[in-house]
């Protein structure tokens, strides 16, 4: 595979000095630091709220359910987003020897993205939410995100088109994959039907929504938090270490296997639910297959650093990057482990997952960002870093912070797994039937995690100080290189690869045929399936033999591909799109039921729907699941497992991903109305030791009945069987049900006016788990 690119004709013409657009890099870098502080500060605040519910200061805008989305969105899209843009813009200009194509687009990208972040920081605390994790922003902001992403893409590909460097370096491959895939994921998961300027319902509902959400959620981690950072790693590690990259062939293998395999693994977020088995098997097996490709990236970074290992002692940039790569390795080892169904049964919904995510976020993303910032600062402001000892201090405090955080979450997860699953009397009775028994046992760990997170933030503040002292009074400087005037033309004369040559080539043919035969084997029956398996294996063997015999041809084809960015981009898109299509289309086509489903959700009454929207607004899904898994401890604790068709009308689905509180899928009827009212008003008066915040304002605010007609009409469009009620009819139904609840509450000794939001919420909570029996559907999901 190590064929050289055919020697290019010697460049001619006048030498000119090319000045890079480093202004935009500085802007993104400063934004990274600013939003990093904000995102981590919110993280520390909500971590504190888990211990001291009073830390929301009695304000509905600062409750955990509303701020947790702010934290996740801020660190993912604001902190890592800006960091990614800074790194991408800095490295791309240098790797392709071209200034960014458009100053205007660059500035539009920057200010557009910051405006989106500010809009998010305002709307999320106000309770405007789509109710899906990392996809909470409301639809007008979604459109803005998509548009700005397109601006980023245009600016990037335009720059590629003007490149003086014919061949694309591995970092650029990862950037291309990022831009293409994030656009695809973001758009599909944000398809919604607006009911007002600030509210919409997702197009998909129930299990479909769940699948689309985790196809997106899992790959947001893959293509927002991983691939761009890997690209950044491939630029900054060899630069900082002043060492060649360890292995080009490894770059090729790990890039293609990563982008192809990652996209399939989304269903591992839904293991042990009643999701069709084939999807669960797909999620689990592809997650396991992901281990080696992920580690390929880690090892390529690490072994590149190996040649400069002795510098680790003195250079904080290398320290951060070495540890970041190590954490990437740990997180990508833990990920496949957690995707094994039996491990997942213990760990899912517990703090272990939170620990896993933060090992990646704090260790990999945060430390790569720090390493990159410390490397760039002196170069962008032409002044040595103010203090290397302070950078080291940041590193030491940061590592201690991660240690405390991750250790607390592991122990907490183990405690939860052990206690929630413990049974006595030959497995017939739960050992700790009350959820609070477990919660109270992990409270100290929640405190420790805040201390760990706080230390990590303190380390980051040291960076802020160091940065400020470095750039204060410094003169910003833009990088330059000498190029020949006619070099872009030269890049254009590089060996062209037409679309035909791109696709009619051994690597593509073998890959496509292999994948097609694999699908044939997996998704058909009998003889066709057997033939598919045989053909798939044969295809693998032939591909290997062909590669052994003709690896020069493969190598030179790939070299030609690398000088042609469009075919490269198309192939990347095909690789990432395949997995999503195969998983999602059958499920969307099969509607909501599996063949085993013996009960079906009833549509919500208008009041219940209003209550559900309050549930979504308050972000209850951040702590409560609505999914009883097909596991004995779940069934013993919460009741019969959740059928897929029991959430068929749920736009958005609210299965949740974490149980800080108990599951609510069958909450309806478990407690009287007055229990819920008192519990929402002051959770601790009912549940001794609970850490849930009180929601007294739900007893004060009135339900937004006026919005219901347009909401019901949107739901009807989405396929929920509501009659065509007039607004008056809707109002009458709402009031009738609300009065009944209010009257019942009065006999139980609590006075609440029927207009109040709490009435709607109680109506919703009391209907959770209500369904009608059906004859098992004849249509299987597969």
């Amino acid at each position: 595979m190590s064929t050289a690119i055919p020697p290019a004709p010697a460049p001619a013409g006048k030498k000119i000095v090319l000045e890079f657009n480093d202004q935009i890099v500085r802007q993104f870098l400063l934004a990274t630091v600013l939003w990093g502080v904000v995102g981590m500060l919110v993280g520390v605040l909500i971590g504190t709220q888990l211990n001291f519910w009073q830390a929301n200061f009695g304000l509905e805008w600062l409750t955990f359910g509303r701020l947790r989305p702010l934290h996740t969105n801020a660190v993912i899209f604001a902190f890592v987003g800006n960091m990614m843009f800074a790194g991408v813009y800095y490295s791309t200009q240098r790797l392709v020897k071209a200034r960014l194509a458009s100053n205007f687009l660059s500035q539009l990208h920057f200010w557009g993205w910051q405006a989106i972040i500010v809009a998010a920081a305002i709307t999320l605390p106000l309770g405007f939410s789509r109710g899906k994790e990392y996809a909470e922003l409301i639809w007008p902001i979604n459109i803005a995100v998509a548009l700005i992403w397109v601006v980023f893409g245009v600016n990037f590909f335009w720059t590629l088109a003007r490149r003086r460097e014919p061949s694309l370096y591995v970092a650029i491959w990862f950037y291309i994959a990022t831009i293409v895939t994030v656009a695809m994921l973001y758009i599909v998961n944000h398809l919604s039907l607006p009911t007002s300027f600030t509210h919409s319902y997702p197009l998909f509902g129930g299990v479909q929504d769940a699948l689309v959400q985790w196809w997106y959620g899992h790959n947001a981690v893959a293509f927002f938090l991983t691939t761009p950072i890997l690209g950044i790693m491939y630029y900054f590690i060899p630069k900082a270490a002043e060492r060649p990259v360890y292995s080009y062939r490894l770059s090729v293998i790990h890039f293609w296997s990563l982008v192809f395999v990652y996209i399939w693994a989304g269903p591992h977020h839904l293991l042990n639910t009643s999701l069709p088995n084939w999807l669960q098997n797909l999620g689990m097996t592809f997650s396991l297959m992901l281990w080696a490709p992920s580690w390929g990236g880690m090892l390529n970074g690490l072994l590149t650093l190996r040649g400069a290992w002795h510098k680790l002692r003195t250079d904080p940039v290398l320290k951060f990057m070495a540890v970041a790569v190590t954490f990437y390795g740990m997180a990508t080892f833990e990920g496949p482990l957690l995707s094994i169904k039996s491990v997942n049964a213990l760990a899912h919904y517990t703090d272990w997952i939170i620990g896993h995510v933060h090992a990646g976020a704090l260790g990999w993303n945060g430390f790569m960002a720090a390493g990159m910032i410390y490397w760039m600062l002196p170069r962008l402001w032409n002044k040595p870093l103010y203090s290397v000892p302070l950078a080291n201090l940041h590193f030491w405090i940061g590592t201690v912070g991660i240690l405390l955080y991750v250790a607390a979450m592991w122990v907490s997860g183990i405690t939860q797994g052990l206690m929630l699953n413990a049974t006595t009397d030959h497995g017939t009775v739960l050992a700790y039937p009350n959820f609070l028994d477990t919660l109270n046992s992990i409270r100290p760990l929640m405190l420790m995690r805040v201390i760990g997170g706080g230390l990590y933030l303190a380390g980051f503040l040291v960076l802020v100080y160091n940065l400020w002292q470095t750039i204060r009074g410094a003169q910003p400087v833009n990088g330059t290189i000498e190029v020949f005037e006619d070099e872009p033309k030269l890049a254009a004369t590089a060996p062209h690869l037409g679309l035909l040559d791109t696709f009619v080539s051994a690597p593509v043919i073998f890959s496509v045929l292999g994948a097609a035969f694999a699908c044939l084997w997996m998704f058909t029956h009998d003889l066709v399936s057997i033939l598919g398996l045989v053909a798939m294996l044969l295809c693998g063997v032939l591909a290997f033999a062909h590669w052994e015999a003709r690896n020069k041809a493969w190598g030179s084809w790939y070299d030609r591909l690398l000088v042609n960015s469009l075919p490269f981009t198309i192939l990347t898109f095909i690789a990432v799109a395949a997995g999503g299509l195969i998983q999602i289309i059958p499920t969307v086509a099969a509607r909501h039921a599996t063949k085993d489903d013996d009960r079906r959700q009833l549509p919500y009454t208008p009041l219940e729907l209003a209550g559900r929207d309050i549930y979504v607004r308050e972000g209850c899904y951040n702590c409560h699941s609505q999914m009883i898994r097909t596991l004995v401890p779940d069934v013993l604790r919460y009741g019969d497992y959740s059928r897929l068709s029991e959430s068929r009308y749920d736009h958005p689905y609210q299965w949740g991903s974490k149980r800080t509180g108990p599951d609510l899928a069958r909450e309806g009827g478990k407690y009287p109305n007055v229990w819920h009212v008192r519990h929402m008003e002051d959770p601790r008066s009912i549940s001794i030791g609970s850490n849930m915040p009180g929601y007294p304002w739900l007893l004060a605010h009135d339900t937004d009945v006026a919005a219901l007609p347009s909401k019901l009409s949107a739901q009807r469009t989405l396929g929920v069987p509501y009659p065509n009620w007039t607004p008056e009819q809707i109002n009458a139904r709402v009031m009738e049900q609300a009065r009944a609840i209010s009257t019942e509450l009065r006999t139980a000794g609590a006075y609440v006016a029927p207009e109040k939001e709490i009435i709607a919420l109680v109506a919703y909570l009391q209907v959770l788990g209500r369904s009608e029996p059906t004859a098992p559907a004849t249509v299987a999901a597969k």
């Binding site: 690490l302 072994l303 320290k319 070495a322 030491w396 590592t399 052990l418 549940s687 609590a750 006075y751």
Partner: protein, 481 residues
């Protein structure tokens, strides 16, 4: 005495144990003898003895370490913890982590070379078996290269047989940490089908250990283990590392040549290295700090009547002519953090009582209103973590006199390691009820050694509503008369 290497000469560009075709050259490190080898041997045996003896030694009637997952009771050196106390494990993990940080900042990768189970068992058990059966490095390589013969077959069988045996012993003792020795012994004597999950664990873990120690070896440290990398990043210019004194050693040359340094390029340091590096190329990712090269070089230097320590434990600062500073800001920072952590851990451990106690509401409504009263119902759960019966006094504080405590036992007896769940019902007459109030449930050890409290709220209807209801009833009655 100089044996040829089993691998390419180490370079800075690639890992010695990965050949250019991706295959792995098996490293046959030569024996190194010296003061470090001896010291490491003693410390390793002490550690192995410690690890393996824990399930045998009994403290307070339980093995020194017995993590009884099945019953959710954890016995650690005489202290018994319940599932509710598992959070203390946090201090164990972070304590180990902190110590690792602290020690690494001072002494470098001392953990890897001296205390890590991978090194301890590999160097002091498995390599010793190998040495005993097959001879030294030269003989081992010769045996490997030789065609199969009765002698070779016998030696290989013996070696691998012993590997498997030792692996199985380690696995069984490891299992004993979780289920206790008698239980393990019972399982060993019974048929595998009776407890096949334990059997599968033993089988898989034994195979895993065997594979790791027989073949995988240094690959674990180089490719898999994250701690080595983190430790490398925690080293600074003043941390001790194993290094080569280039100022003294360079340029290398034969004995008797003029103008050369002390290093005679005998390559002994490379031959003894278990990870296949050349320490003279500086600090490297693969170095686990096993000290073999120090002993090897000291041996040569002593024979040449030159001072020892051409390869030695020293800091980067000292190797470049400076002085190692032991007390650095970092030492103080870690020291301080360690002190804070230790204090918090001690305090946390001191808050652990020999009992746990919780109050939860009974299922159903938050309160019950009947004809004459308002009532709240709770369950009090007490866990006795001692291995003997214990008596507890349950008291209620701040409960108004008008409240009746029903079915409420002041004294509760809980069996050894037992749990008791006891209802607690509070009732207040409608007339006396004026609204919710807070009170405290307090559990005291009968011997007065400790007490635990929980703040609880007595709930009821809005007093106004109850009053209105009463008045309405009276009015009805008046109207009827």
């Amino acid at each position: 005495m100089s044996a040829p290497l089993s691998h390419e000469p180490p370079s800075r560009d690639s890992v010695t144990t990965i050949r250019s075709d991706g295959s792995r050259p098996f490293v046959y490190p030569a024996d190194a003898h010296g003061r470090f080898a001896t010291a490491r041997q003693f410390s390793a045996y002490a550690l192995i003895a410690f690890y393996l003896s824990l399930p045998w030694i009994k403290v307070n009637g339980y093995p020194a370490v017995f993590l009884d997952v099945a019953n959710r009771r954890f016995h650690l050196f005489g202290i018994t913890l319940a599932a509710q106390d598992l959070w203390l494990l946090f201090f164990v993990i972070t304590g180990l982590g902190f110590s690792l940080f602290f020690i690494t900042s001072l002494l470098g990768r001392i953990w890897c070379g001296w205390a890590c189970p991978q090194t301890v068992f590999l160097d002091h058990v498995y390599r010793r078996i190998e040495r005993w059966v097959e001879g030294d490095a030269v003989e081992r390589r010769a045996l490997q290269a030789a065609p199969m013969s009765a002698n070779k077959f016998f030696k290989l069988t013996l070696k691998h047989g012993l590997y498997v045996l030792v692996s199985a012993i380690i696995t069984h003792l490891f299992l004993a940490y979780y289920v206790s020795l008698p239980e393990v012994w019972g399982m060993v004597r019974a048929a595998p089908a009776e407890h096949w999950s334990a059997f599968a664990f033993i089988f898989v873990a034994t195979f895993g250990l065997y594979f790791n120690f027989a073949w995988f070896r240094e690959q674990l440290c180089i490719v898999i283990c994250p701690y080595g990398r983190i430790q490398s990043a925690l080293i600074d210019d003043h941390s001790l590392v194993i290094g080569y004194d280039a100022t003294r050693g360079e340029p290398r040359g034969k004995v008797g040549t003029t103008g050369v340094g002390d290093c005679i390029a005998c390559n002994r340091c490379v031959q003894v290295c278990p990870t296949g590096i050349d320490i003279r190329q500086g600090l490297q990712m693969e170095c686990i700090g096993c000290t073999a090269c120090i002993d090897a070089c000291d041996d040569i230097m002593t024979k040449l009547k030159r001072p020892a320590g051409l390869i030695r434990y020293d800091s980067q600062k000292a190797f470049t002519g400076g002085r190692t500073r032991w007390l650095r800001p970092r030492t103080f920072l870690y020291g301080l953090l360690l002190l804070v952590g230790a204090s918090v851990a001690t305090w946390a451990l001191s808050t652990v009582r020999p009992a746990n106690f919780g109050v939860t509401r009974m299922t159903g409504g938050p309160y019950v209103i009947d004809a004459g009263s308002v009532r709240n119902q709770f369950l009090v759960r007490i866990v006795n973590k001692r291995n003997e019966p214990a008596r507890f006094l349950v008291r209620l504080e701040d409960v108004p006199k008008t409240v009746r405590k029903i079915g409420f036992e002041e004294v509760l007896e809980v069996g050894p390691l037992g749990e008791v769940v006891q209802p607690l019902v509070l009732q207040q007459a409608r007339g006396a009820y004026t609204g919710p109030f807070h009170f405290e449930v307090r559990v005291e050890d009968a011997a007065g050694r400790f007490h635990l409290e929980r703040a609880v709220e007595f709930l009821g209807p809005e007093a106004r509503l109850l009053r209105e209801e009463e008045e309405e009833k009276h009015r009805h009655e008046r109207e009827r008369h």
